[in-house]
């Protein structure tokens, strides 16, 4: 379990991270979202023991990041936003180097290296020079080096940036696999769609403050003020908008073409069912009636433009 406790970082008079708090469980894939300069990298570097917090700390399974950095280092895998690989060595030598640094016994190293290469789908590149790998492969190699010591926590800073859609999809699959292996995975991004579909927890950071945190659905729910229901009819009925407008809990309606109407609705599910019944009773032939999932992107925009709080 990772507990972040009032983590704060000042650069002179600039407050880069302003006392953020959250907790994650094994298997959690945490999407850490914020625009550029929001404080994601600073937070991740503090968790990776690379930066000393001005105040606060974090604990991984009870081990304190500030008090016991060496012990923490053994338990985390960190992938920075910009990283350099030694390009003058072979892929397996690169992993061998990190396996040695992480005190993987010499006897087990070849097996460990084969395993992480397998996991990151780089087995065929084992004897290739690092310099010859594509950007996506280098990204995966860096992830592979994070895994040689079987860490409990993975800190991935903007791992998807600069990848083509295919490489990005592969990376997502890999990260999901790590979650299934019971690791805590922290993935940051400034582009929301990158994360929305495979994280089970998200946090939105803006100017050093954690504005929202929780399971994706909950964050969406708390931020969302009204749900949107999309209703499609069999026949054109432009007056349906007027018909719904005055009904209970309906705050707004929009016609989307002649057969579809979007209703902003503030009532409960019970009220929702009532409204459907009412429509049908009034002779409208409803072919589709569904709650539109407000996506994270809307939430993100609302939060970061100050629409919330």
């Amino acid at each position: 379990m990772l507990e972040v406790l009032g983590l704060k970082k000042h650069y002179g008079s600039l407050v880069a991270v302003n006392g953020i708090e959250f907790a994650l469980q094994p298997g959690d894939i945490f999407g850490f979202i914020g625009s550029n300069g929001a404080g994601k990298t600073t937070t991740i570097k503090m968790l990776a023991t690379l930066l000393e917090p001005t105040e606060g700390t974090a604990r991984l399974n009870g081990i304190d990041v500030v008090m016991d950095p060496m012990e923490i280092k053994r338990r985390i895998g960190y992938m920075p936003d910009f990283f350099g690989l030694y390009d003058d060595v072979k892929v397996w030598e690169y992993l061998d180097f990190f396996a040695t640094l992480y005190e993987v016994p010499a006897r087990e190293r070849p097996k460990v290296i084969d395993n992480v290469l397998e996991l990151t789908d780089l087995s065929i590149k084992k004897e290739a020079f690092v310099a010859t790998l594509s950007r996506g492969m280098q990204q995966r190699l860096c992830l592979a080096k994070c895994l040689v010591h079987d860490p409990e926590l993975l800190l991935l800073d903007e791992p998807a940036s600069g990848l083509d859609p295919r490489a990005r999809a592969e990376l997502k699959e890999l990260i999901a696999e790590l979650g299934r292996m019971g690791k805590i995975v922290v993935v940051s991004s400034h582009i929301l769609p990158e994360l929305a579909d495979f994280c089970n927890t998200v946090g939105i950071i803006e100017r050093g403050d954690l504005k929202a945190f929780g399971p994706v659905r909950e964050v969406v729910k708390t931020i969302q003020t009204a749900k949107v229901i999309e209703i499609r009819l069999l026949e054109a009925a432009p007056e349906v908008s007027m018909f719904l407008h005055g009904k209970p809990h309906v705050t707004n309606t929009h016609m989307m073409g002649s057969t579809t109407v979007k209703v902003e609705f503030a009532g409960t599910e019970q009220d929702q069912a009532e409204m459907l019944k009412h429509l049908v009773d009034s002779g409208y032939k409803v072919t589709e009636f569904r709650e539109e999932a407000a996506d994270l992107e809307d939430v993100f925009l609302k939060v970061t433009t100050g629409a919330v709080q």
């Binding site: 002179g12 280092k73 985390i76 960190y78 990283f83 350099g84 990190f98 080096k145």
Partner: protein
């Protein structure tokens, strides 16, 4: 168990060091290394052919003439090796570390559970491989010199060991520079500057050493200061010299090697400390190593000086000197290396990392932690170590310590407190820790070198005062003139202490106002 753990750690750092293994794999690859070593071998062969042709070309000559010429041939081989090492060693480590910083691979290593020492030792080992290769490839030539009668095997082995030590020393010097620098080019330039300043600057003590040893012929078994062997300029003259330590003749190459290793360790710990946070194991270790190095250098240097005057120092043999002044000069010379660390110890800053923020100006509990308030206590502790060890050895050898000695020591201590207070004051006018250290270095240079000679000289000539009188009131000058007038020394000591106290008072007033400014700024930022 503790011993086993310690051994395991040492083994991990020095044998099979991952950094070194990784670099080794890269070093062996590609055409560039092969090209480099081929070029080197070619140069060696060319050089030897030319040098040897010079020796034999002159036809019929007496054996002794040829002998001398062969010896000078051997010396030029050593000189060339020394030059190659001085060209290669200062940059190998700096470039390798800076390359890691530039390509951002150092960050990945920093999140691995290894100490900075592990990483630095790895870099030293992989850089040192180049130096050893240089020496190894030239061995056949040295062997030729032995066969031809220009040198003996013993001489060759000791000389090679010493050149290897010089290379290690250059690597040591360049290590903290590489860690402090942010770019490759400055790292390389400053490393060359530092190493060559050492190589050329050492010509001065070597010259006086030659004088002291009575210009004994090369390789003769004579008593000479061990540090002669650490200086690249003329070490080969003293390969068989020794130092008498409590009645035993210890070969100088042993002492020089040991001292080199200790100083290089000190540089490694120093670079490690730069890479870590305040109060880290590395910083504490650096400060302890500083004390150990101080003690060892003091002991080695005082034994050398005493040995230079013959094996038994009786109070009588001091009668022609002023022992107090002698001892004070000895300490003054010994304390000069403080110059290099003082700007970093005496400065503080509120702008950057917590590393430089002081919570006072003197706190004995912080003496080893590296915080600014531990700076002055640490300088005093270094001086105390020096006085205790040096004074002890001199006392043991029959020197006496009297009131005059105490006055000299008050002057010297005052000098360093004064320079510390200057750094403390400069800090209140600067922004960042490193910037402060630079400004403090500059102020130091101005006060010690620029001010006394040109400025005071001009002032003297304008006011028509003899320059001796001007220097007499200039406290820093106490070191440079040979006046044994104890009242002058007492006056200069007092001058130093008063100025130091006043500067400290002023600096503290400024520091406190900076603190309250910073606090106000922090409060304003907090939401109501």
């Amino acid at each position: 168990m503790a011993v086993a753990d310690w051994w395991r750690t040492q083994k991990r750092v020095y044998f099979g060091n991952a950094s070194s293994v990784r670099d080794y794999r890269a070093q062996l690859r590609g055409t560039r290394p092969a090209l480099f070593w081929t070029l080197y071998l070619g140069l060696l062969i060319l050089f030897v052919t030319l040098a040897y042709a010079n020796v034999v070309v002159q036809g019929e000559q007496s054996i002794t003439v040829i002998q001398t010429q062969l010896q000078s041939f051997y010396q030029s081989v050593l000189g060339m090796l020394e030059l190659m090492v001085a060209l290669v060693a200062p940059v190998v480590v700096g470039m390798s570390i800076q390359a890691e910083v530039q390509r951002k691979s150092l960050e990945l290593v920093s999140t691995a559970p290894v100490s900075p020492k592990y990483f630095l030792v790895g870099k030293v080992l992989s850089g040192y491989r180049y130096v050893l290769m240089l020496l190894f490839l030239s061995l056949p030539i040295a062997a030729a010199a032995v066969m031809l009668g220009g040198a003996t095997w013993g001489e060759v082995l000791v000389s090679y060991l010493l050149v290897a030590m010089h290379g290690l020393f250059y690597i040591g010097i360049s290590l903290p520079i590489a860690v402090i620098s942010t770019k490759v080019v400055p790292a390389v330039i400053y490393s060359y500057m530092a190493c060559w300043a050492w190589a050329f600057g050492s010509a001065i003590p070597v010259a006086s050493t030659l004088f002291m040893s009575g210009m004994a012929p090369r390789g003769s078994h004579v008593e000479a200061p061990f540090y002669m062997l650490m200086f690249p300029g003329a070490f080969y003259l003293g390969v068989d010299s020794y130092t008498t330590v409590f009645g035993n003749q210890i070969p100088n190459w042993i002492i020089a090697t040991a001292v080199t290793l200790i100083i290089v360790k000190f540089f490694i710990v120093g670079a490690g400390s730069v890479m870590t946070r305040i109060g880290s194991k590395e910083t504490v270790s650096l400060r302890i190593h500083g004390l150990i190095v101080t003690a060892i250098l003091t002991a080695a240097y005082s034994l050398t000086l005493l040995a230079g005057r013959g094996t038994s120092i009786t109070p009588g043999s001091f009668s022609t000197f002023d022992p107090a002044h002698e001892l004070a000069t000895f300490f003054a010379v010994l304390s000069i290396p403080i110059v290099f660390v003082l700007p970093h110890i005496s400065t503080w800053s509120y702008m950057d990392e917590r590393k430089h923020k002081p919570s006072g100006f003197f706190d004995v509990r912080q003496v080893l932690s590296g915080t600014p308030e531990g700076g002055l206590p640490y300088i005093l502790l270094v001086l105390a170590t020096m006085y205790t060890v040096g004074g002890g050895i001199w006392l043991y050898n029959g020197a006496t310590i009297d009131v005059n000695t105490m006055i000299y020591l008050a002057w010297l201590t005052g000098a360093w407190v004064f320079f510390w207070s200057m750094g403390w004051l400069v800090s209140s006018f600067a922004q960042s820790g490193i910037g402060t250290a630079r400004k403090s270095h500059l102020a130091f240079t101005v006060i010690v070198t620029l001010l006394p000679w040109p400025v005071l000289g001009i002032v003297g000539s304008i006011l028509d005062i003899p320059s001796d009188d001007i220097f007499r009131v200039y406290p820093v000058a106490g070191l440079f003139f040979d006046s044994t007038e104890i009242w002058t020394v007492a006056f200069l000591a007092l001058e130093f202490w008063i100025i130091a106290l006043w500067l400290t008072y002023w600096a503290e007033k400024r520091r406190k106002s900076v603190v309250s400014l910073m606090q106000r700024a922090t409060n304003e930022r907090k939401p109501a």
